[in-house]
């Protein structure tokens, strides 16, 4: 097949356009909700638009966005990774304790170590759920416990403190470049690279294929086990990265770091349009979902709405998102079917 022909402008009929529109509307919908939420909050409390407040918002969202990207890769293949928060804790403590004990270690080496640890955890999850034949829900529920337990054993009650961390490292967590927090630059880079890879590379497309119809993927010669394993390793690596960034951001790390994040991350992906049974969704959506959830939290805090509403709001939003997805999905499918039927008749 030729590889160098220039892309031709699309000749699309309404069916294709309709489907594409819906996909885009899905992400536009979140952007819309974000803007609306932001504007309303700013009107009620102008301090929300302060540089500090915005910076906090972005910082909070960044770690979740990175985790949500990894989670998306896994969910798209009809799997799930509940263990990300425990992996984050391991990697965060690893990076923190290494740099505390050996202040001379270069910062890049901390990233290599943290990501490496995440990849090892992801490999463990992936091997068990592909070659071991254990459902990923069970494997990662198990490692959610086991990795967290290992973190407790390892820290043995100790914690890493900000004072022992070098400034160069801490600056990563709190500094900014051209007004954008460094942490968010990491997140944006991760989202863009992952989004590009999922869209423009064979392996990325095959992840969707596996989640959309596993049997068809097998018949099409897709090496499902290997790719699912890859998704788990990448998800682990990103959790590892998030762990290093967690340490840089908060300075204080103990074995409870990130506890409970896993459900927020999955919620972010689902709110962002990633179908829990695979085949559908983008990392952009998931990252936007993470941003939306964080914004809700921040705006409720700044509006002094009792912080107690926060979790209920996130839960309600998540349910609203899946109900809407379902309604739109049913409509779209029947629209596409009618179009197909009319054309044949």
């Amino acid at each position: 097949m030729s590889t160098d022909a220039p892309p031709v402008p699309g000749r699309k009929d309404r069916g294709a356009r309709l489907a594409e529109l819906v996909l885009r509307v899905r992400e536009l919908g979140i952007v819309g909700a974000l803007v609306l939420l932001f504007v309303v909050t700013v009107i009620m409390e102008p301090r929300f638009a302060d540089a500090d407040s915005l910076r906090d918002l972005l910082l909070n969202a960044s770690i979740f966005a990175i985790l949500a990207v990894g989670q998306t890769l896994v969910i798209v293949t009809r799997n799930i990774d509940l263990s990300v928060s425990s992996v984050l804790a391991l990697s965060a403590y690893f990076a923190g304790s290494v740099v505390s004990d050996h202040p001379g270690v270069p910062v890049w080496a901390l990233f290599v170590m943290g990501i490496g640890m995440g990849m090892a955890c992801g490999l463990f999850n992936g091997v068990l759920s592909t070659y071991g034949g254990v459902p990923s829900l069970v494997v990662t529920l198990g490692t959610l416990y086991a990795f967290r337990g290992l973190a407790f054993l390892w820290t043995d009650g100790r914690q890493v403190n900000a004072e022992t961390l070098p400034d160069a490292f801490l600056n990563l967590g709190s500094g900014s470049v051209l007004g954008v927090p460094t942490l968010s630059l990491f997140a944006i880079a991760v989202v863009l690279v992952a989004g590009w890879w999922m869209r423009d590379f064979r392996a990325g497309r095959q992840l969707y294929a596996i989640g959309s119809n596993p049997e068809a993927a097998r018949l099409a010669g897709v090496r499902s086990q290997r790719l699912v394993l890859l998704a788990f390793v990448v998800c682990g690596a990103l959790a590892g990265l998030a762990g290093v960034l967690f340490t840089a951001r908060f300075g204080t790390v103990d074995a409870t770091a990130g506890a409970g994040y896993e459900l927020t991350v999955i919620a972010a992906a689902v709110v962002g349009g990633v179908a829990i049974f695979g085949g559908v969704g983008t990392v952009y959506g998931a990252a936007l979902g993470a941003l939306l959830l964080t914004t809700i939290t921040s705006s409720l805090i700044i509006l002094k709405v009792s912080a107690f509403w926060q979790q209920a709001a996130i839960g309600a939003l998540l349910i609203l998102a899946i109900v809407l997805d379902r309604v739109v999905g049913v409509r779209l499918e029947s629209a596409l079917r009618q179009r197909s039927a009319r054309r044949v008749a």
């Binding site: 892309p7 031709v8 489907a19 064979r202 959309s212 068809a216 099409a220 010669g221």
Partner: protein, 507 residues
């Protein structure tokens, strides 16, 4: 049988292949050769082992015994990818596509055209796919998602997919089953073009007229073995059918004469949009009514709707004068209807549960007191029916998964007969069942009718329809096209109605 003694080495060859699933020997003896430029028919009744043979060639299953060769060299396909790498493309009965992805991407999956940096070239991917679809002469947009496509369109996508990697061997497992007349013609044009390019085609179909119009050679299978291999020019349709069936028709269809009783079930203008339209019929106690037609004519769907699995858009069903509520299987059962569904493994049985549990699934209420099951009665009912239907089994507590197809079907029948229904609908009652059990099932249905049961039998097997039915209803593209008495019904009248010819003649 005579092997083709040509000097050319076959592209694909299967030699004494065998395959079993648990206790079921699906393929006992598979020998077959495909040469360049040859269109070979693979024919046989349902359950003769054709699908198993296809799975071996496609690399979906591995041989238990025997040899497979490509270009004369031994091969062992351990995955579908290996088969595809050898140039073998399979188009399955059931399209296996990715509903969430675009048509173009479905065609290109795993072999996306690339540009610099190993990135996918979407433009080329879309254009290549569109070119293939245009070449097939279909108006189908390559950019739209597969979700929502009709089965016929999905089939076209499958064919385009096979064409896209210029397969040397094309295996088509009943590709025409869901296609309309013009679509079949279009497909044949493509098949002939492929043939001229030197590809080998293995064509599986139940429509003999298609086989005779497009194939050069034929392989006939029966009961898991290849029984005949010859040039189409040397065969007649009758000859082929005889080799497929391989037995005396009379012994197989022990239809007892019955006296037809009162009407039990009346279907009144049943309609389900885009599936079937305006279907009316009456079932009387003591008669076997066959619902005949081609695959995809909407017969199973009618049975499902009568039973309440699918909702009717219009029309209604009456049982003994009482109207059934729409879309409620439990109500249909309470009124005395039973349905032995088409897909035994998926719909008829819970494969992981024991024989006892499966048989009693429909009579739980009767076997319980205050909601608690009476284990003794459970076993008694299961044992009684196992005995009456001569079920061959080790233990009633073993999962039905380990039974042969015929015995599994007996379990399904048992679970419905345990309710002593007034109307029994059986959908392809003998599909995938060995000859001996087949006759048993026929004898059973016949006896039940004699005892006053009304039977509606959906069947694609013409001999079964003609041998068993007191009356034959024929469907074509969602409509009833003929109602034939036992005397009127023969191969010709039924086939004419099933292909819609009576309809056109009348119009």
């Amino acid at each position: 049988m005579t092997e083709d003694a040509t000097l050319t080495v076959p592209i694909l060859e299967l030699d004494h292949a065998a395959k079993s699933y648990g206790a079921v020997r699906a393929l006992r003896e598979g020998t077959l050769a495909l040469c360049a430029g040859e269109v070979r028919a693979l024919v046989g009744e349902n359950g003769a082992g054709k699908s198993t043979l296809v799975k071996l060639l496609a690399g979906v299953e591995r041989l238990d015994a025997g040899v497979m060769r490509v270009d004369g060299e031994d091969v062992d396909f351990h995955s579908p990818a290996a088969a595809r790498a050898a140039g073998i493309a399979v188009i399955y009965q059931e399209p296996t596509l990715f509903p969430d992805l675009s048509v173009a991407e479905n065609i290109a999956m795993g072999r996306h055209p690339l540009r610099a940096g190993r990135r996918i070239d979407r433009g080329v991917m879309r254009r290549d796919a569109q070119a293939l679809l245009d070449q097939l002469g279909v108006r189908l947009n390559a950019s739209r998602p597969v979700r929502g496509l009709s089965i016929a369109d999905q089939q076209i996508v499958e064919i385009a997919k096979a064409l896209s990697f210029e397969a040397r061997v094309l295996i088509m497992d009943e590709p025409t089953a869901a296609l309309s007349g013009p679509e079949v013609e279009r497909l044949f044009t493509v098949v002939r073009a492929l043939q001229q390019r030197g590809a080998a085609v293995l064509f599986i179909s139940h429509r003999l007229e298609e086989v005779f119009s497009i194939c050069d050679t034929a392989t006939v299978m029966r009961d898991g073995a290849v029984v005949h291999d010859a040039r189409i020019a040397d065969m007649t349709p009758d000859d082929m059918v005889r080799r497929m069936v391989g037995r005396d028709l009379g012994a197989l269809f022990p239809k007892e004469d019955t006296t037809v009783g009162e009407p039990v079930l009346v279907a009144h203008r049943l309609t389900r949009e885009n599936v079937f339209t305006d279907i009316s019929f009456t079932l009387h106690s003591g008669e076997i009514v066959a619902l005949a037609g081609l695959v995809g004519a909407g017969r199973s769907e009618v049975a499902r709707a009568v039973f309440g699995i699918d909702r009717l858009d219009a029309g209604h069903v009456e049982v003994e004068g009482r109207r059934l509520p729409n879309g409620r299987p439990a109500a249909a059962m309470a009124a005395g209807i039973g349905l032995v569904p088409e897909d035994r493994r998926q719909q008829g049985l819970v494969m992981d549960l024991s024989i006892t549990r499966n048989v009693t699934l429909t009579v739980l209420r009767r076997l319980s007191r205050l909601g608690l099951m009476r284990r003794g009665s459970e076993r008694r009912v299961a044992a009684e029916w196992a005995e009456r239907l001569q079920l061959r089994h080790h233990t009633l507590d073993g999962p039905v998964r380990f039974l042969s197809g015929g015995n599994q079907q007996k379990v399904v029948l048992a679970k419905w007969l345990a309710r002593t229904p007034k109307v029994l609908m059986v959908d392809e009652p003998t599909r995938g069942i060995d000859v001996g059990t087949k006759a048993e099932v026929h004898r059973l249905l016949s006896r039940l009718a004699a005892e006053g049961l009304a039977v509606l039998m959906v069947s694609s097997e013409l001999p079964e329809v003609l041998g068993m039915a007191d009356r034959v209803l024929v469907m074509h593209e969602g409509r009833l096209t003929a109602e034939l008495s036992r005397d009127e019904a023969d191969e010709e009248t039924v086939m004419r109605a099933a292909t819609g010819q009576t309809h056109e003649a009348a119009a």
